[in-house]
Structure formats: C-alpha cells, structure tokens
C-alpha cells in the first residue's frame, strides 16, 4: 500500500497572462526520490514554492505530509526541509553559527543542539570547516551546508531546488550519492528539481518531465520511455555473420509480429523497433532460421532521448532549453 506524502491536485499558478504551473497533478510516495525535470522557466521552482506555502496557488491544492501547504504552511515547514536553488547564508557568521540558528528556529532543544549540529556537519563532510565564515565558502561547500541546514530539523521530506547547479562533476557525484544514501538510510522522501537529466537519472526512482507548467510524463525511466515513444520504445539491433539479401525473405513473417513496428536492414545488421522487449524471441527466431548471430545490442532510451523527444516540438520556440542542456 503506497501512501503519497506529497499530493498535488490541479495546482495552478498564474502570473498575469502566463500560466507558470498549469493544473499539475502529482503524487509522491514516502521514501522515494522523485526528480522534477524540466528546462529553465518550466515552473519547477514555482511548484516547489507552492508546496511550502511560500506562494499561493491560483487554484488547486498542495498537500504535504497531510497538511494543506497554503492554509497551514507552518506544519508543512516543520516536516519539510527545503534547500533553495541559490542558498545563501549570513556571511558574518560561521558555518556552525548559521546551522545552529536554523536549529534554534526549528525548536531543537539547546542541550541537543551541539550534538546534532556536529552530527549533520559530519554527514555532509564539513566538520573541518565549521568555524570558517560562510563568506569564504565555495559553491559546493555552500550546497553541503545547505543540506546540513535541511537535515538538522530531522525532516520527513527534503525538497532540493537545483541542488547540482554550479558544482563541479566530482562534487555533483558525491552530493547525489549523499542524497541517495540519506534517503535509503533514513527513509527520507526526496524531491529534487533539475534540468540536468544525467544527475536526475543517477539517483531518482521516478522522474516527472515538466515543460511550460505541465507535467508531460512521469514514472521510472523505463515506463517513461514506454509512455513517450509508445510503440517505438524498444530498439534491438542484431548482427549476423552473413550479409542479408534485400529484400529479405523473412521480413514479412517478422512484420506480422504485432510488437514489431519497423525493421531496418543495413548489410549484416538488422534493426527492429518494437513496442515491447522482443530481443530473446528475435534471437531464437533467427537462430532457428539458421542465421549466425554474432552480436545483439539492445538499445534502451535514456533520459537524453526522452528529453530530446520532448523538445523536438518545443525547441524552436524555447531557446532556454539550449542553455539548460549545456
């Protein structure tokens, strides 16, 4: 039995004539890592702000941890840790002071505060730098401190807005590994927004593709490619030893398979596009017909292709996507 910890129903936010978020319906279950993927300006941050009651939806409701985020933001914020995309700290205070301040605001008892802040600083790997002023912190360190900030309140849900923005590749990998580890160990629900599909692909259980205020598709990567490419979601290319003559006499027989939508032949390489995984059956069929199969390559659609597919129609209008993919 899955119980959604974040429930968005028909969430809409309108800025003047522009709909930043348009009738968003989304359920996120306890303990999963959900990636909200979309180009810049798709409405990701607006959605997150509405979940925290930091901005009011034009219509629709956001329920987080069983509380309505618009009418009861305080109870939501008690259970949700939010790291904004451009997290800032009080520059005249040290990392520890910044952290302790947030801890106090969350009502962490004074006698536990020291232990707790030392713990979370250890987790994010900033224990050695805790007495440095945050003005001297690098971007990656600030992100880590931001995560410590989120963790000190013992949240049930963590919302990270563009957590990987502006960190170097090693930093990103460490950071994402940390998030994944935390989620698995402590059973945290994580919602992270990003326009970096590779980052999302690395850690997320489920992904939602969000473009121009609308959630175009959601699910795990496999389900997404199925949803998106429909009948063309699986491509199997098989290489055989002898060149295949054209026209190929087996082709009509294979075309009759209801899963296969397209067959392409290129010398000794056969490429089958199908709506479900038919690789094993194809190999068996070819071997039965006396072909020497020397290579089988199954092509799964990654987020890259999924992303690309979505922007085929949008890319001419939406130049921000070019920026975001870099």
């Amino acid at each position: 039995m899955k119980d959604p910890i974040i429930q968005l129903k028909g969430l809409t936010k309108q800025y003047g004539a522009v709909k930043a978020v348009d009738g968003l319906n989304l359920d996120i279950n306890k303990g999963e890592i959900f990636g909200l993927l979309g180009p810049n300006g798709a409405g990701k941050t607006t959605t997150i702000l509405m979940m925290l009651g930091l901005t009011d939806p034009t219509s629709g409701t956001a329920f987080v941890c069983g509380h309505n985020a618009t009418s009861n933001p305080i109870s939501v914020k008690k259970k949700v840790g939010y790291m904004p995309d451009n997290v800032g700290f009080y520059d005249n205070m040290t990392a520890l002071e910044n952290l302790v301040y947030i801890g106090r605001l969350n009502g962490v008892p004074e006698n536990e505060l020291k232990k707790r802040s030392a713990e979370v600083l250890e987790i994010v790997g900033l224990a050695a730098d805790q007495h440095k002023k945050t003005s001297a912190f690098s971007r990656g360190m600030k992100q880590r401190l931001g995560l410590a900030d989120v963790l000190i309140k013992n949240p049930e849900v963590i919302i990270l807005d563009e957590p990987t923005l502006g960190i170097d590749p090693t930093g990103v990998r460490d950071f994402l590994a940390l998030i994944k580890q935390l989620s698995r160990q402590q059973g945290l629900t994580v919602l992270l927004s990003s326009h970096h599909l590779h980052h999302v692909q690395q850690v997320c259980d489920r992904v939602g593709i969000f473009v121009k205020g609308q959630l175009l598709a959601q699910g795990d990567i496999g389900a997404l490619s199925g949803q998106l490419f429909g009948a063309d979601s699986h491509v199997t290319s098989i290489r055989v030893a002898q060149p295949v003559s054209q026209p190929w006499q087996q082709e009509p027989e294979l075309q009759a398979w209801e899963a296969i939508t397209q067959i392409r032949i290129h010398e000794n390489e056969l490429e089958f596009t199908s709506s479900r995984d038919v690789t094993a059956a194809l190999v068996r069929f070819l071997v039965g017909k006396g072909y020497d199969v020397i290579g089988v390559n199954q092509k799964n659609y990654g987020l890259d292709d999924i992303y690309q597919k979505y922007f085929e129609s949008n890319s001419t209008k939406n130049t921000s996507y070019e920026k975001s993919i870099s």
Partner: protein, 322 residues
Amino acid sequence: MKSQSLDPGPFGVMIHKEIADHIRSWRFSILIALIVLTFIAAMYVSLANIKSAIGNTKDPDHLFLYLKLLTTTDNSIPPFHVFLSFLAPLLGISLGFDAVNSEQNSGTLTRLMAQPIYRDNLLLAKFVSALVIVSGLFVALALLMIGGGLVLTGVRMEPQELLRILGFIVITIVYVAFWLSLSIVLSILFKQAATSALTAIGIWLFFTIFYQIVINLIVKSFLPDPAYLSQAEIISYNDLILNLQRIAPNQLYSDAVTTLLMPSVRSLGPVTMEQMAGAIPAPLPFKESVMIVWPQVSGLMASTAGCFAFAYYFFMRREIRS
C-alpha cells in the same frame, strides 16, 4: 509545554540574532559614536551656561536644573533635543533600510522562510530588535546625564523632572520607531538596499527642509493681505499653517519634546490676549504638559503603526524567491 520558560521560541531566537547583528555592525557603532558625541557637545555647552540659566529668575523654568541641562545652549550649537529631531530619523533609517531586501538579495530570506516560523515574526523581530537597542542607548544617555548632573551640581532632582526626562526619552524612541518602520516598509518595497536608503533619506530631507517651504508657498498663494483680515481670520489661517506643518513627523516631535522639556510652554499655537489675561507665568504640572502634547504623541504612534501595517500588507502575501 513544560520547557516553555526555557525555550525562547523562534521569535526570541530571531530577536537575539538581530540584536547581535546590530551590535556587531560597523554601521551601528558609527551611529552610536555620532549620537554620543552630539550628546557630549550639547552637555558641555549647557554645563558652561547652566549657571546663568539657573540664575535667570525671569524664566519660570529656571529651577529645573536637569531640564535646563538638556535645553540650555549659548546658540553656538543647538540643544540636544533639536539635534535629535534630525539625528533620530537617521538612526531609524540606518537600522531599517536593508532589513528585508538584504536578506532577500543574499538568499537568506528563502532559507529563513522555509523554517517553521510565522512571516510576521520576521518583521516584528527586525522592528523590535532595533527598538530595543535604540531604547537602551537613549535610556543609558539619560541616566548618564542625570548621574553626571547629580555628581557635578549636587542638586536634588524633582520627581517631575525625572518624569519629563523619561517622557522625552519615550517620545524620542517613538520618533525613531516611526522612521524605523518607514524604512522597513521601503526595504520591502525596493529590491536594492541603496534605493530604499536613498528614498528614506529623501523623505527625511523633504520633511526637514522642503516641507515648510512648500507649505509657505502654497498658503501664500491664497492668503489675502493680512492687513484686511480680522483677528479671528488671521488666527484661523495661522492654525491652518500650523496644522499643515504638523503632518511632518519632525514637527510633531519637536512640539512634543519642547513642551515636555520646557514646563512653561502652555500652548503650541497662538494665544489670544483674553486667554493670557490672568495667567501666571509659572511652569505647568507634568500632567498638563502631557495633555498638551498628547495629540502629537498619538499622531507619531499612529504613523508608526500605519507604516508597520503597510509592511505587513506588502510582506505577508508576497512570493518569496531569491
């Protein structure tokens, strides 16, 4: 709920942090230095002239030594309360002009608002923490002056004097509070701290320098030649000018403070000969002075509350993003 006495709650935590920030900031140290220097200069001048002021038996207030300490001057520099009428706005503005927008620009506002605290607590904490500091400063100065006066002259203090000096301090704090809340409103409205500071200083300059000129210009344009007016008409025009001037908060402040510090002031407007007939030139009791300035005090408080309400209105439903 047992731990409530130990746990200061988020609001207490925020005030604590804000006060610490103010005290550690250079800005505040410079302002304190400015005000303390002004205070010392004013005290120095008044101490040099206190003897003649006390000896001047024509002045009905001449026996109020401590009030004289605050108001006597040889005209080389203005007395302390006049200094304050233009330094206090500066104090209020400088403590509040970047209250909200600097947090927003550095990205700490989003982080703060993501914590389980009420939004209004942030505004209130900014306001209260600055006021606590200002109150501390002025109370300390007043006590220093009283203590110094006691040591130097050995003259006993009248209870009335103490009340009047405390009243002066309270009105000064309310006056600073007005400028503070005004500058907090501006810090919410303008994204750049420099813009809000300039706007606040602009408003301050307008009221201290230009407002009187503007009023005079406007009234002169429709004021008939006084030679053709009856006395009652002249008084009504005079009242009009005074009332228009009282829109300016510094006018309210100097009216209120002058009345409190000079017990013989019995009216803030023109007084007719009939009203003066039979009046003994004697100091008023404290309560009567308060009655005279009550409209001014409530006016100042109302404008403070008004500004603060605006701050709430602009801030409460606003979208917070960095």
